[in-house]
Symmetry: C2
DNA sequence: GTTAGCACTCTGGTAGGGAGAGTGCTAACT
DNA sequence: AGTTAGCACTCTCCCTACCAGAGTGCTAAC
């Protein structure tokens, strides 16, 4: 929509671009509407405030800026931010210093997925002063690395399934006939032969071929089914878990001083289906994707901006890292940070899936 | 402090008690200061508003009520709430209907600890319309139920430790010499002999007695040490994880309309050390404990009330369930709910630890 | 095309006034 | 002695009025 309006009144000339950029950058840091005088004072534009006013009026006509009221300064519209983001999205490398700092932090924690997801969220949060998000890398189809059966009592066992990417799933199995740990262990060993590296589909066909006369056949089949269910549940869930950090940063922003707005954002974040859909489309696009205000499908998110970057390998395992903040977001930093962290997460995925 | 003031002007007569109770119950539901006329209208006190005014003045002198300003109604002080809580804490059973409802919900989910902790938090949240909290049951000393070694590549393995209470811990082990899954499996089998049901201390002495000449001796020792570290880390952490739900409920309360206060509460909740200390003292007391406003040690919590109930068996495993809300909290419901849920959690602990 | 000048508009803060709610006191009542 | 009616008083809340300040939009000159 923004682009259509802009095009109708011709492309922006360079000076108009510079002024739009200045308004946005000023407003992002101060959170107060920007007047023509303030622009002339703080940016050496080489023109008078009257000229700036003319251009501001044009930009407003083009739908890129807005007026809270007649005699206030300008604030960017969602379309204005959109233009800004388009203009910088391909040129926002994170400064070397920060790249090194982040790498160092990631080197400090164990090279295990959960730690990395958490660290990704908190790193992004602290660098952007907004909320950091990270979803766990989700494989296209889960593959089992190992299973284990732990006896709880003679009628109950705990099934532990370690997935290839390091996630651990647990389920209870109630035993038809009493079994001790020894039996369970040997069944687990047989199952490990059967399931190692396999997806749900593969396991299903292998289970069908089991010899029903073999010892422990019934138990094998039962636990096999349970493993299958664990995998299917896992495959079905679009977003397993969202790691977030720095929601407190967002609470500090003046646009969320009244907690009602905040509350709606939090509600939206609890909606797994919505997040799943978001992750899906970002992963598909394969690029850093920015959703600004009204561009968000969820009504509760109409006052925030999301900067999301996919990571991982399509068809193998994908996840998303991102920033959530007010639409008045430091986009260059957010985009740079998210893109860099997504690169780091790629390394994790490559490592976990060889 | 409250009690000292009260005592100095003598104990409250029955009528004053009834009126104090009425003020508190009225204020808890409406959140607006309560005037003498409103009390006479809504509660059949059998006296005129003038008399009520006299008594309100006494209660204010006793430090149990307060005035926002000269011509406003009364609101309870922390001391007022404290008196109220003392008067009801031993007589707040949860209605049968709700007990059944909760039991039913708990019956729906798998009898596994994590699910129960989550459910405890969300049940409490929905019944009290405040935030529900639950900490995982923490054993006095963790005992290992089972360990497993999963090969990641020939130099790295993932160590999976299943604790008796069902918690799973994971750690990476880098191997001095390359090992395949077969070797790892046999080492895991040996380790299971060694560690089954044992605490860190026991494992330490057993490790010391290992024959250094046995096959895999070095690997055994290395992984043994790693298990030890996992257990020691676990034992050292006072509060492993806090499950919370319904923080959104708290955001809706008028006292938190301005998000700054909310933010401070959230900050305090992120402080593990503080929570650990809280869990410790509640578990030690063995009873439902209520912290009202200023009674909270954390400055950030001075505007909220906490109702906490311990569960589990001292010396074996303990945790805490609770409610967090504004000091203007529905204490009877909160106390009743928390006490009942804590009873359910006892069943879980008894089951997990026989 | 740019700029100076200026009238105009709107906010935000402050002051004043009236309605309403509620108190605290006094004097009369039981 | 405790209770109550009556009433003056106080404070908030809301509305209005007003002013200063900021910023615009227009016009006419450069």
């Amino acid at each position: 929509m923004a682009r259509r309006i802009r095009r109708s009144s011709g492309p922006l000339d360079l000076r108009a671009q510079a002024i739009l950029r200045a308004v946005i950058e000023e407003y992002v840091t101060t959170a107060i509407p920007v007047g023509s005088q303030a622009l002339v004072d703080r940016y050496h534009l080489g023109v008078s405030s009257a000229t700036v006013r003319n251009i501001l009026a044009e930009l407003e006509l083009a739908g890129l800026l807005d007026h809270p009221h007649t005699s206030a300064g300008r604030i960017p519209t969602d379309a204005g931010y959109r233009w800004y983001v388009e203009s910088i999205i391909d040129a926002t490398p994170l400064p070397q210093v920060e790249q090194l700092m982040i790498r160092h932090q990631f080197g400090q924690v164990e090279f295990a997925s959960e730690h990395w997801f958490r660290l990704a969220a908190s790193t992004i949060a602290s660098l952007t002063h907004a909320a950091g998000l990270a979803t766990a890398a989700k494989p296209a189809a889960a593959r089992v690395r190992r299973v284990d059966l732990v006896s709880l009592n003679d009628r109950m066992a705990s099934l532990v399934v370690v997935l290839r990417e390091g996630a651990i799933k647990q389920a209870l199995v109630s035993l038809a006939t009493p079994e001790g740990q020894a039996d369970l262990t040997s069944v687990a060993a047989m199952l490990n032969e059967l399931v190692d590296g396999a997806t749900a589909d593969i396991i299903e066909t292998r289970l069908a071929r089991l010899d029903p006369a073999s010892p422990h056949a019934q138990l094998l089949a039962q636990v096999g089914e349970r493993i299958l269910r664990v995998l299917r549940d896992y495959d079905r869930t679009a977003v397993e878990e969202v790691f977030s950090d720095g929601l407190l940063n967002v609470m500090g922003a003046p646009e969320f001083a009244h907690s009602e707005k905040l509350r709606r954002v939090f509600t939206a974040l609890e909606n797994r289906a919505y997040l799943g859909q978001l992750v899906g489309s970002v992963a598909e696009s394969g690029r850093v994707t920015v959703y600004i205000g009204e561009e968000n499908e969820a009504p509760d998110m109409r006052e925030v901006a999301l900067v999301l970057a996919p990571y991982g390998r399509p068809g193998i395992a994908v996840g998303v890292v991102g920033v959530l903040g007010p639409t008045r977001l430091a986009y260059p930093e957010a985009i740079g940070t998210v893109r860099f962290v997504s690169g780091l997460m790629n390394e994790l995925v490559d490592h976990l899936y060889h």
